[in-house]
Symmetry: C2
């Protein structure tokens, strides 16, 4: 079931879970209370997040705290790099254009 991080963040509930546990680890029940989702639904999402190593379980007695592996998020950032390079180039081109226009205005 070849699971990757891009599939993991495709679901809005999963993105909400990620944002929720980014700051502090939480149990499935605690997470479920924050949305109108059942504990089981949250559990299934967590399973997917664990599969692609975006989330790590931490058992504490009978409770399991799930915490975000923030470093894994850098993979998205890394993929974005190629596009960031493009939009920054375009921006500097626009910047050049504006500079040229400004110059012309002063010259007239």
């Amino acid at each position: 079931m070849r699971r990757d991080i891009f599939q993991a963040i495709a679901d809005p509930t999963r993105r909400a879970i990620i944002a929720l546990i980014a700051l502090q680890p939480m149990t499935p029940n605690a997470i479920a209370e924050h949305f109108d989702a059942t504990r089981q639904a949250v559990s299934k999402h967590l399973k997917i997040l664990i599969e692609c190593e975006l989330v790590k379980p931490d058992q504490q007695g009978r409770e399991i705290y799930y915490q975000l592996e923030i470093d894994k998020m850098k993979e998205i950032d890394k993929w974005l790099e190629q596009f960031r390079r493009i939009w920054e180039t375009r921006f500097s081109q626009l910047d050049d254009l504006l500079t040229t226009l400004k110059k012309g205005k002063h010259d007239k």
Copy 2:
């Protein structure tokens, strides 16, 4: 069919299409030739990409060139921001720790 950019980039073929047309617009046939995907499959992916405004068609005679709306990619970057803030904080904390350790070493 509430489509968003995160769903759009979830599919690996779609990510490949995005990367391919990022630099130069292409026709569906040209795109299809780059993968082992049929023209129709590519067309369906393009339809999804258009729906979430990540790609724009540009008709030129009987050919249609599809080009990436690079600005739309910034939405992902914007979403990542909250996590970037966290991993940068953690990094500077680690940095502080290393500085402290180094200091101790020099002091002994």
